[in-house]
Amino acid sequence: MEFLYDIASLINSTLRISTPLVFAAMAGIFAERSGVIDFSLEGKMLMAAFVAAVGSYFLGNPWLGLLLAIIACVSLSMLHGFASVTYKGDQVVSCVAINILIIGLTTALAAAWFGQAGLTPTLNEDQRFLEVNLPFAESLRDVPIIGTIYSDILSGHYIFVYLAYLSVPLVFWIVFKTSFGLRLRAVGENPSAVDTAGINVFVMRYKALAINGVLIAFAGAHLSTAVNANFFREMSAGRGYLALAAMIFGKWHPKTALVACLLFGFTDALQIRLQGVELPAIGEIPVQLIQAIPYVLTVVLLAGFVGKAIAPNAIGQPYIKER
């Protein structure tokens, strides 16, 4: 029973930890499927976390904080588009600039407004998202198996967790079953084909970046107004890069990207669970070694499998119409 409970709690944390990765990977799919590299998922996630926390603190409503985060992230995406789509700059450079800007900006603004470098005030219960208990979770808890799955694994998460996993089929549907998705994929593969079909390549890429901004905002808000009750310095902690890796590992496909996100989330959940655990014969594993697991796995997966992943054909190339 103890063992079953361990497994349940491990799955539960996997779902929670993977949430920002899933949002970010879905955001990345929109940008990169349209042919625009998005290395700035990290910076945008950090920006969203900051804006959501500050917005919610001043306005007293986490939903308004989320709305402001969406506006901030869409603006950053537009900035990226302005530099790399309209002005055909190097997409990676534009992203790195955004990432560096946001690290400094969030720290400085937090210091200016709240007197603490890179820290925002703790949000009270009205100012943050609370865990959602699904109906009948309490009464079903004692039913074997179903109760564990329903009450211990599925129930009791923040709203973002549910939204993240609902977003995956939605993204799949948009990308593969709608005319917008067809144009999106085409513009990342061969923008000339899209242009000669009478569709504006630049508008398509801006649309994709706008959706990218909305999705990544959810990841940031999840960090600062749901699992935590404030923003702290560099709290995105590389999740944007990890999500990018998951997206590449998932071959720019929502379903496989989800699997990759869950895998990364699971290793993270596992390392938290393993900390301080005495293993027979070995004894306690050094915490640094355990913490390294997700990163080692990332390197191994990327090195071993990404060779087979084929990126959208036109990724990273600005569309130049006239010679």
Partner: protein, 506 residues
């Protein structure tokens, strides 16, 4: 009955300092096949891209069916019944035929009823024009000829009444060209108007009823095709009289200088691309290697020049073994032994296009006297050598300090040729010597190759241009699916026979 469907008046277009179209006037009559001929860079494609709405003219008016239209994007052209099949196909390779065709004209947000209707309409179009396309196949699985048909079908589905084809035959086998011309004629019979952009005189004479000639951005003549001939058109294109047939003296072939025995080569994806090939080239002989692109010629040429590993078999230079699967000489060592190579893809392998002309003129020989002494480049000698050689090979403009990418395709090719021929190699491997090169320069390059042969060199000419192979070679071998499928003396062979071999039919 003759009524103009498309009228262009005073079209001007500049890219930076380049005036690509100067005061162009053009009238195209409904239901005709109208040819536009001119050398590379004459402005044909630019003009048609303006008509298709891809580029915007700086000035001028465009009328369709007598009504002036404003073309801001291809969408406006498509609405006005203009379709274009580009030289480089505008297809998404990992999409299906159907997806490519409906792109931009999906008709609804979520695929459903309209998709079924589109399928039915497309089937009808395929039947009418005998296009024979499977809508569900992926573009990357289709041959070049079929991809082109998909482009034609795409334009028709979008309601094209005027169909512009930009150099449509460059990548096709003679049989595929026949098929294409059949389709174009049946389109004409159904009342469609065809605009054919080409630099091949024979296509104009074969297919068109009217022809317009462009030279250096200007329209220099219009005429009914029946009132002109190839020589006259060539003269209008180039602005001077051109020799269409090469004067080639009989040369007695000497001893075997270069030979290949049972050669097998794999590509980067470990696919066998050259299968048990045997070749012999004698002194004073041009051996032409014909074949449709992608049948192993590239890999063969790379293996022969020392760039690609030999899987099995042997290569002999002047009777001495230079390469087999165990050891092979690299391009430098081969060069020292008198083998020169003009690669197929000049911009990727033949030149560093961002470098200056003089740098490209000495690459591979840069460490030899007088270009360098103890690893230091001798600038003055390099420049004077470059000037001399650029004059000799008629590279225009004659400025060694100009960045290579600023030269036209033909002049870039002359830079490579002059570099390789200047050393008087015993064996010359040359791939696609005149791809993207204009008529005037083709004549020059061909003459140089003949001169080399007359002086006793052994030349392997790899080309997808059948005309070129036929006019230069003494002997012709045809490659299909990595194998040599036929060998002919170039005395009484016809392009029909070669075409069948190239298509793997015989």
């Amino acid at each position: 009955m003759v009524s103009p469907i498309l009228e262009l008046t005073n079209i001007n277009k500049s890219f930076g300092h380049v005036h690509a179209n100067k005061n162009i006037n053009l009238t195209i009559n409904k239901g005709t096949i109208h040819g536009i001929i001119g050398e590379n860079g004459a402005g044909k494609s630019t003009l048609m891209s303006i008509v298709f709405g891809l580029y915007q003219a700086n000035s001028g008016t465009i009328k369709v069916n007598g009504k002036e239209i404003n073309l801001r994007s291809p969408k406006d052209s498509i609405i006005n019944g203009i379709g274009m099949v580009h030289q480089h196909f505008m297809l998404v390779e990992n999409f299906t035929v159907l997806e490519n065709i409906i792109l931009g004209f999906e008709g609804e947000l979520v695929f459903g009823k309209n998709l079924e209707k589109a399928k039915k309409d497309l089937k009808d179009l395929c039947d009418t024009y005998k296009l024979n396309i499977d809508l569900n196949s992926t573009i990357s699985d289709l041959s070049v000829g079929f991809r082109q048909r998909v482009e034609i079908l795409k334009s028709l589905y979008r309601g094209a009444e005027i169909l512009i084809l930009d150099e449509p035959t460059g990548v096709l086998t003679p049989q595929e060209v026949d098929e294409l011309f059949k389709i174009l004629r049946s389109l004409k019979e159904e009342g469609k108007t065809i605009v054919l952009i080409t630099h091949k005189l024979i296509e104009i004479m074969d297919l068109t009823s009217e022809v317009s000639v462009m030279r250096q951005g200007e329209m220099v003549g219009h005429t009914k095709t029946e009132n002109t001939n190839k020589e006259q058109l060539a003269e209008m294109m180039v602005g001077r009289s051109v020799l269409l047939r090469l004067d080639k003296s009989e040369v007695k072939a000497g001893e075997v200088l270069f030979s290949v025995k049972n050669l097998t080569v794999k590509d980067d994806l470990d696919v066998t691309r050259v299968k048990n090939v045997d070749l012999e080239i004698r002194s004073g002989e041009i051996l032409g290697l014909a074949g449709v692109t992608g049948n192993g010629q590239t890999e063969l040429l790379e293996a022969l020049s020392g760039i690609r590993k030999v899987e099995s078999g042997e290569i002999y230079l002047e009777g001495k073994k230079v390469s087999d699967s165990q050891k092979f000489l690299d391009p430098r060592e081969l060069k020292d032994k008198g083998l020169a190579h003009v690669p197929e893809d000049r911009q990727r392998m033949g030149l560093v296009t961002d470098f200056k002309a003089y740098e490209n003129l000495i690459f591979g020989y840069h460490d030899q006297q007088p270009f360098s002494k103890s690893s230091v480049l001798n600038h003055r000698d390099i420049i004077s050598h470059s000037k001399k050689i650029m004059e000799e090979y008629d590279v225009r403009p004659q400025s060694p300090n100009l960045i290579t990418s600023n030269f036209s395709g033909g002049n870039q090719q002359k830079i490579i040729l002059s570099r390789e021929l200047n050393e008087n190699p015993k064996v010359l491997l040359v791939g696609q010597p005149t791809r993207g090169v204009d008529i005037g320069a083709i004549e020059f390059i061909h003459q140089r190759l003949i001169d080399m042969r007359d002086r006793g060199a052994a030349i392997l000419l790899v080309s997808v241009e059948l005309d070129e192979v036929l006019s230069l070679s003494d002997r012709i071998v045809v490659m299909f699916d990595g194998m040599i499928v036929g060998e002919k003396e170039n005395k009484n062979v016809t392009d029909r026979e070669l075409g069948l071999l190239m298509a793997g039919v015989v």
